[in-house]
């Protein structure tokens, strides 16, 4: 297991949907109302980058015409054919068992705790954000993705 520092929190303001490359993997990083989420940035259907999709709440209807909107259940809707993946789990709406996109745990870590993270959990590696530069922003918190 590898903890990758993808950058300072200030680089990912609320509403951010962005692709980053870490450990040769393309990740879609989302900063939504429920926090930070990371998914593999490739839709299992035909490979569209999910970071270019649309962030939506879940819409359900127990009966025709009875809409129930749950903005807190966040889904990313693929920019191509519109398949929906739950941000929190990577599971698709239409077939959560079989159709899902890899989902990675994210955390926000103050810079001072980054070395400890390396000690305790696993290796801490440079992400797209380099080791040199995070030492500059000592006051900042960092977004860490566990790959």
């Amino acid at each position: 297991m590898v903890n990758v520092v993808v950058g300072p929190v200030s680089d990912f303001p609320l509403g951010t949907m962005r692709q980053v490359t870490a450990q040769n993997r393309k990740l879609a990083i989302f900063h939504s109302a429920t926090g930070f989420h990371a998914l593999r940035d490739s839709c299992p259907h035909m490979g569209a980058a999910l970071s270019g999709g649309t962030l939506v709440g879940s819409v359900e209807a127990p009966q025709p015409g009875c809409y129930e909107h749950h903005p807190e259940q966040e889904f990313i809707r693929c920019p191509w054919h519109g398949w929906e993946y739950e941000l929190a789990t990577g599971r698709s709406w239409f077939d959560p068992q079989h159709n899902r996109v890899a989902n990675y745990e994210t955390s926000v870590v103050p810079s001072g705790e980054l070395p400890a993270l390396a000690d305790v959990r696993s290796t801490l590696v440079e992400g797209p954000f380099t080791a040199e530069s995070f030492s500059v922003f000592v006051e900042d918190d960092y977004v860490v993705v566990q790959l």
Binding site: M46, G47, G53, T54, C78, P79, W80, H98
Partner: protein
């Protein structure tokens, strides 16, 4: 779900042929761009939107993603209008050797009758040559015609076909009458005269109702029904004896999906057998007429619950020389050439034919033309 990446084989579909995409949509950067190609006589009508756009498309508040891939919007202008972005997202990314372009959304209006329809069609064709075909040799063009006006359409086909970079004639599939009707014969005749296939593409606003029984409530419902007009046109063209009159005419069913075709063939054959001499004489059984005169593009590719059923369907259709890859870039139901029809599923030979080999036969004239250009 295992997805086999087929990019390498897509590029090498057939030596010297490469990947050919039969259905790509370019677009005007802005409405004003067309005026350079449109006689000033029509500028006022064009500016005021006479005939531009179709009431048919207004029936739903919105199509999914406004019909476009969410990531296909250039910095300015609509999807399909930026040549560089199209190169990046389609031609270069998938190593497409030829893409046949057509501005289908803008040209729906060209089903207008009379001189205005012809003037619009001619302007789109001149714009195509000038703004697209001249700028990248990988582009080929679809010819826009005033669909409901056979004589004028034929005239425009004759004019444009002299430029061999135009590879097909485009009609929207929902015509006012079934295509076997005599009003369309001049188009078939001009297609034959110029050695060009006719494409039927989603769209149009001529029909009574765009389903077998009335109007859909939802876009997802209407979008599913878009397979139906294709089947109806096949029936009409087969029954009308059009192919006896114009034996070299070739029709591309573009963006109609495929899954409905096997049963239609069987049904037509049975009806033909039952009705016998009570119907017009056909040169062959209907399914064989289909296999001699129709081609089918692959997008939106059917997604059976068991992937092998796709192969069963191709087997039943028994027309492997007549499937043509299409992506429909930049529309929302885009098919990615490295993901659909993997060789691991359909076999290397079949894939090679569909990704380029078959198209190379169908549009040989255009390929020769663009190679020498």
């Amino acid at each position: 779900m295992t997805q086999v990446t087929e990019r390498a084989s897509a590029a090498a579909a057939r030596p010297g042929v490469g990947l050919i995409d039969l259905d790509v949509h370019n677009a005007l950067t802005s409405a004003a761009e067309l005026k350079k190609y449109l006689p000033s006589r029509w500028h006022r009508a064009y500016d005021e939107g006479s005939g531009i756009g179709s009431a048919r498309w207004m029936q739903f508040g919105a199509a999914r993603l406004g019909v476009f891939r969410g990531d296909a919007w250039p910095a300015s202008g609509p999807p399909g209008s930026d040549l560089d972005l199209m190169r990046e997202q389609l031609l270069d990314r998938y190593n497409v050797s030829r893409a046949v372009l057509h501005p289908v959304l803008e040209t729906m209006s060209v089903s207008l009758d009379g001189d205005v329809g012809l003037a619009y069609a001619a302007a789109f064709n001149d714009w195509m040559a000038d703004r697209w075909l001249d700028r990248d040799p990988r582009f080929l063009g679809g010819i826009t015609v005033p669909i409901e006006d056979g004589e004028r359409a034929a005239k425009e086909i004759d004019r444009v076909a002299a430029d061999h970079r135009f590879a097909k004639i485009v009609l929207t599939v929902a015509t006012r009458e079934p295509l076997g009707a005599p009003r369309y014969w001049p188009i078939l005749e001009a297609a034959e005269r110029n050695g060009l296939p006719i494409t039927l593409h989603v769209g149009g606003y001529g029909s009574a109702t765009p389903s077998g029984a009335g109007w859909a409530s939802f876009h997802v419902e209407a979008h599913t029904n878009w397979a139906l007009p294709y089947a109806a046109q096949v029936v009409s063209l087969v029954a009308s004896g059009a192919f006896d009159r114009f034996p070299n005419v070739q029709i591309i069913l573009e963006e109609g999906s495929l899954g409905w075709m096997p049963a239609l063939m069987w049904r037509m054959d049975r009806a033909h057998q039952v009705l016998g001499d009570r119907m017009a004489e056909l040169s062959n059984v209907p399914s064989e007429i289909v296999r001699k005169h129709f081609w089918m593009t692959t997008q939106p590719l059917d997604e059976p619950p068991v992937r092998g059923q796709l192969v069963e369907m191709f087997d039943m259709l028994d027309m492997s020389d007549r499937f043509l890859f299409s992506s429909d870039y930049p529309h929302h139901d885009f098919d990615a050439p490295d993901r659909v029809l993997p060789a691991s599923l359909v076999g290397q030979e079949f894939r090679a034919k569909v990704m380029g080999g078959n198209a190379a036969t169908l549009i040989a004239r255009a390929l020769g033309g663009s190679a020498s250009a």
